[in-house]
Each structure stands twice: as C-alpha cells, then as structure tokens.
Amino acid sequence: MSKLLAAIIAFGLFPAAGFAATYPDRPVKVVVPWAAGGDTDNIFRPFAPALQKHLGQTVVIANVGGASGTKGAKEAKDAPPDGYTLYVPHEYIHSTYYTGVADVQYSDFEPICMIASTPSVLTASPKTPWKDAKDLIADAKARPGQISVGATLASTSHFFPALIEKAAGIKFKYVSYEGLAPRMNAILGGHTDLTDSNLTQKGKVEAGQLKFLAIATEKRHPEMPSVPTLKELGINVVYDVNRGLMAPKGTPAAVLARLESSCALAAKEPAFAEAMKLQGTAVRYLDRKGYAAWLKQTDDENRAISKDLGLLKR
C-alpha cells in the first residue's frame, strides 16, 4: 500500500521534477496497452523487475487497455517525454494505424530496445473435423467465407490468418474477439473454428481441448516438434509478434541511452529467459539502432499487407 501511495505521490505531485542528469530519480511507469494477464502483460511483468534491477528505480506497470490497444498508445504518446513513461507496443501499432483504427503510429515514439519474439500458431477448435492444416485448406476451398476466425480486428490476430488466406487462396469469416482470453473461451466451446494463438496454449493441446494446425516459423519449434510449419505445407507465411520498449518522441538522448543500457542487461537476466520460455517466447534483443531499423521495415510490410487485404485507409 505504501508503495502504491509513494508512486501516486511521485507521479501526481512532482511531474516537473527529474532531470536527465539524475535520471531516474523516481519510479518509471510502463504503459501496457492491454489488460493484465494478457500476453504482453505476462511478458513485461517478469521484465519489469529485471529492468528495475539495472535501472535502480522502481518500474511500475500500468495496464491501459481498450480500443484495440490504442487507448494506451495515445496515453503514452501524450505523456511528458522525460523517460518516466514508457510504452510497450507490438506489430499492432503499425496495423491499427494503416487500417484507420488509430492515429498513433510508431514514429510518435523513440525506440529503446526490442526484447521478445513470439511465433504465431494457427489453432483450431477441438469440435472442428480437421486433422491437419491440409484438411482445413480443402474445407475452406469447399466452403468459402464459412469458417469463422476469432480475432482482434486490424491487429496481429487478424493479419496472421489474413496472410494465410492470401497465400492459400481461401476466404475466412472474422468475428471480433478482443484479446486472447475471450478468443480462447470461444474456441474451446466451438463457437469459432480458428484463431491465432501461441505456444502458451500448449497445455490445452496436450489435454485435447485445442488443436495446433501449423506454426508460422521457418523451422519446427523445439517445444512442439510435432506441429508442422506453414512453410512445409506449401503456405509461405512466417509470422511472429515482437515486443519492445519505447519512449514518447522528444525524450532526451541521455535518458534513452540510460534506458537502452539497462534494457540490454535486463534482457540477459536468466530469470527473464526462464519466464519467457513459459510464455512460448524467445528473448530477442535488438538495440536502439537495430530496433529502429526493424520498426521501419515492419511498418512498410504492414502497409503492404493492409493494402493487399484491402484494409488500407491511409
């Protein structure tokens, strides 16, 4: 409780305090644009103590969910660029911009570092008749627009199946389920047929409650070698969700450098690697320069995908 109060006092009463020279001299807030317990939250909760250790200041996670993750993005963008409010995006920042859902884009922020990469897995309800992805494709060709996919529209869980549609020449029907938890409930009960998920759902597959049809990696994943890649099925789609740390545009270079060096050390913490393994996620560290280049490239790719899918609004 006293910690919470300390944080409140620090944020509320002294917003003007703190200079780059002494950075960080009060708690750093990390805006997670989704609810607690989601994938992004589960990745950054174990990262926060690691970052805190190397930054020498308390790191607080603020879950600002809503409106496909754009509410948190807006809040982080409008925060003072002093390094005390950070933001953790993934590819949705590009896709929601180009599909017109949000008007915040990646260039409203300064990249700090990338920390994690989670491969996508095409997942089916146990109530579907398909044994593997081949069955699915054949069925989809026979019944265009009939197979339902639960997805957060205009986000990664929409783009990933959409890429499969395009590569395999098939057509799905999309149903809006924002976030992994409601998507999982719908697919376990057979209310939707397909969804994008990841290796965190392994336990449900082993219990026969879900079916992994194919994984979107270059090679089969060591955690689940029995799941084929989309590539070996002749569908040329490789897709993963990459998460990093950003600060609002205009954050001083010295502050960014301090954050970058702390982030580099935090990403190497064995405890963090261990936690990521449970998340079906690989630690993927890119420094400021590397992350900036990656963001530029990914932004172009997302623009192209939006255009291909007929969703481009800008």
Binding site: A36, G37, G38, T70, K71, T96, N185, G203
Partner: protein, 508 residues
C-alpha cells in the same frame, strides 16, 4: 478427492503458508473496505511482494486477498452506504438502511456470516463440480452471453424504486455511458464530443465511486446542519450482537443461501463478468422469491445475505475457470493467472491432475481464508463499527480523498479523476430528482458486454432466430421477459397495497 483436500488443509495450516494467507486476507479486507480501492488494485499491489515466496505461499496470499476483499467491501457498504468494492453494490441496498435503523452490528455481521457460508458453499461447488460446471461454461457462446446479460439487465425493472419511468431512464443513461468511446470492433469514435480521453471509453470504477460516494457524501453534508439537534432523537446504535442469533437468521433461510451462492458460483465460472453482476443478480432473485418484496431496500436481512453470500461464492467460481481453462473471468483472476505464470505454473486443463498438491493447496487456502476472514472481522469489528459514531465532518473528507486517490490509481491517469467528478455531480443530481442509482450502475456494468456479444453473434451467423432456438439462450430470453413481467406485477401489487393502507385503516 476429499483426502487430497484434507492433506491440502493440513499443508496450508503450517505457519509458513498460514502467515502469508493471513496477511493476504487482512490486506484484502482492508482493500475491500476502502472505497475507491478495489480487489483488483489490492491484488496488483500485493503481487510483487509474492515474487520471492514459494508458489503456494504466493498464491495463498493472493487467494487471501481475493476472499478478504470480497468480504471487506461490505463494511463500507453497510456503514457508509458506499460500496467498498464493486461486488458490494447490492449490499448497500439493505445494509445501509439497516444501519440507519440503528442496527449496525446486525447488518455487518449478517454480511460477514453470509460471506462465510456463501464462500464455503462456493468451495463445495468448487471442489465437487469443477468438471461439470466448467463444461457448462464452455457451452456459452456469444448468443448465450447476450441472453444472460439481457436477463441481468431485466433486473432494472425490479430495482426502479418508486417510479418505473425514472428507473428505466436511469438504466438507459447507464447504457448510453457504455456507448461513449470507440466502438468495440473497428474503433470508430462515438459520442466523444471531440474530447481526447473519451475515445477510450469511460471506465466503470470512477463512475461507480462517483455516483455512489459523491451522492451519499453530499446528502450527508446537507444533513450536517440539523445533525446537532437530531442526534439525540435517533436510535442509539446497537453495536453488540448475538452471533448465534445472526447465524440462525441465515440458516433459517437455507433455500435463499443455497440459491444465491449457486448464482455466485455460476457467474464466477463464466469468464466475462465479475462479482458485481453476481451480487446484483442474487439480490434481485432474493427479492423475487420473497413474500415481502416491499421490505427490500428498507433493511431486509435477505438482501444482505443474498448479496454477500453470492459475491464470496463468486470467488470460488472464478478460481474454477482459471484452474480448468487458464481463462481469466475478470481483472482479479487475470492477475491471479499472471501470478501463477510468474511462479512458473502452467495453469490449464491438466493443472489440477498434474499439480494436485498445488491445486488442492489453493482450494485449501480458499477455505481456510474464510475462517481467517471471520477472525479478522471479529477482532476488527469493534473499531469498524465505531465508524458510525465518527463525526461526518471528519469522515467525509477522508472518504473523498480515498475515492480520488482510488480513481487515479486505477490506471495512474488523471482522466479517471475527471470522470469521477462528472459522475459525482450527475449522481447527486439524479438522487435529488428522485432517480434510483442502481439501474444506472447496472446499465454501465452490462452495456459493453451486451453490445459486443450481439455483434459477435451476428458476425458468426446472421440468423437472428439463433437467440431463441439455442436452448440456453432461448431459456434465458424467456426468463428475462418473465422477470420483467413479474417485477411489474410486484410493483403494481405493492402500490395497490400502499393505496389501501393510506386509506386510513392501518391496523397497527
């Protein structure tokens, strides 16, 4: 199965688990009781302190917070008329009137013992019926969720108070609030008036605190002038209670207790909505089954029992869903699930069979923490009940500050404080003009879920008859209609009786 439970209990009463469980329950009661601090916030604050503990210690502490918080909300709900946490909204309806009638001890202890029995019944369901209940939850697709929330919304008819028109208007206002912000599918802004922070929609909690706390505190302030003379005239609050008598009051209504606890478990198992809906649904059911529905809202013990037994049973239900599916039902269970992950536990369908020591450890923690909760309440009751004798001039500023801090701490943003202010003023005006607040809150709780599930149903299949032809959904729709008709009939009968009694032949 039960030997596993007993060994779980034997395990959990060791001091190394009992201590975190006790501390968790204690902090939960505090967090639940403080208006503006929700269970979710308390659990988020406690989470980092459990990192260094072993998994069962950490999860015992979190379970304690969850149980303690669900019970703690009743203290402020009864004594101040302000729900300490959203799941205690329905407790204010009868708890607060009972306190004003001069029975604070009875109100609080009815709540505490109802929480205790409801929670334990929830525990029985939790252990015996995890499988079948979880299977029912999976049958709930968007059609069923839509119908369930429409059924819950039909409670508005039972909560209108004097004027049905004003009640419906208040409910409609609540629904409009949920429309504000980005639409749930493609994020098109609605009713945002060009104001930036409205694009994200309006958070439920600052609305709740604003409407309940502000309107209550404002009317308290209004009465402060005449309190000086009035105090002597009022009934002297009875702080001493007979526990046997109160337990008797609860046990004497076995059907009520069982049914409202079952509602709590069921709403908990369904991964969409939390304790606030459970307690209001249970309250409405209690009123419908009562032979004296007109007593509800004036300090009826049934109202307190229904609300408090269901919100603690709800905790048991939501634990089932995270253990069986790894799907969180609300923010609290989402954080619990996150905590499990951080402690290296993969929850999901195989969790209970593969990690039975841990799973039954959590069951045991859930049960034991109910006993701890009663002990904590018993030790603290004397001090809590003094709240009613604290001068309002001291109490009101403290509660106001807590409410504002709570609204801010929700997301660490100022926007929620403004929402709190606006809805505080609005709530006060509504009360002044005789509008009931409960339908407004119900609208705000349910609006989003009704909308998104309607959209999902139609996106999945554009056949609208499915709402009626799917058995669970159809049944719930029929029940909604019946519930409205029944409430209107009860209302009419009550008015007729009132007319008779004002004719002058009152026989007492």
């Amino acid at each position: 199965m039960y030997d596993l439970l007993f060994s779980g209990i034997a395990n959990i009463v060791q001091i190394k688990y009992l201590l975190p469980l006790f501390l968790g329950t204690f902090i939960g009661v505090l967090g639940g009781a403080l208006p503006g601090v929700t269970i979710a916030m308390t659990i988020i604050v406690v989470l980092p302190f459990t990192f260094s503990l072993d998994p069962l210690q950490g999860l015992a502490a979190m379970t304690g917070v969850y149980v303690g918080g669900s019970a703690g909300g009743l203290i402020t709900a009864c004594l101040l008329g302000i729900p300490g946490t959203p799941s205690a909204i329905a407790t204010t309806f009868d708890g607060f009137p009972m306190v004003r009638n001069g029975e604070p001890g009875r109100a609080v202890w009815l709540g505490i013992w109802a929480s205790f029995f409801g929670g334990l019944l929830g525990g029985v369901f939790l252990i015996a019926a995890t499988g079948p209940l979880a299977a029912i939850a999976l049958e709930f697709g968007p059609w069923e969720f839509f119908a369930l929330f429409v059924f819950a919304l039909s409670m508005v008819a039972g909560l209108t108070g004097g004027s049905i028109t004003k009640g419906l208007l208040s409910g409609a206002l609540g629904l409009v609030v949920t429309v504000m912000g980005s639409d749930p599918v493609m994020g098109a802004p609605r009713l945002t008036l060009g104001v930036g922070f409205l694009e994200g929609g309006i958070n439920f909690l600052p609305v709740l605190i604003g409407v309940f706390a502000f309107s209550q505190l404002m009317s308290d302030i209004e009465k402060m002038g005449d309190a000086q003379q009035g105090q002597a005239a009022g009934p002297i609050p009875k702080l001493v209670v007979s526990h046997l008598k109160i337990i008797g009051e609860i046990i004497a209504r076995p059907f009520l207790l069982l049914w409202t606890s079952f509602i709590g478990v069921l709403i908990g198992v369904l991964p969409a909505i939390g304790g606030s809906a459970a307690s209001m649904l249970a309250y409405d059911q209690a009123k419908k089954f009562s032979r004296h529905p007109e007593r509800f809202g004036t300090g009826a013990p049934e109202g307190i029992i229904a609300s408090e037994s269901s919100n603690n049973a709800n905790v048991g239900g939501s634990l089932v869903t995270i253990m069986a599916f790894g799907i969180p039902g609300d923010i609290v269970t989402a954080v619990m699930l996150g905590a499990m992950t951080i402690h290296g536990i993969q929850s999901g369908p195989l969790f209970i069979s593969q990690q039975s020591t841990l799973a039954y450890g959590i069951f045991a923690a859930y049960i034991v923490s109910h006993f701890l909760m009663v002990i904590i309440m018993a030790l603290g009751a004397r001090y809590m009940l003094r709240l009613t004798t604290v001068p309002k001039s001291v109490l009101i500023p403290v509660v106001l500050v807590l409410s504002v801090v709570g609204a801010y701490a929700l997301n660490n943003t100022m926007a929620n404080v403004y929402v709190l202010l606006v809805f505080g003023v609005l709530g006060y005006l509504l009360v002044k003009f005789g509008f009931p607040l409960a339908p407004l809150i119900l609208g705000v709780i349910l609006g989003d879920q009704i909308e998104i599930n309607l959209i999902r149903s139609i996106m999945t299949d554009n056949n609208l008859w499915l709402f009626l032809t799917r058995p669970i959904s159809g049944g719930l729709i029929v029940m909604s209609v019946a519930s409205v008709v029944f409430a209107l009939w009860q209302h009419r009968r009550h008015q007729k009786r009132n007319r008779h009694s004002t004719d002058g032949d009152a026989d007492f």
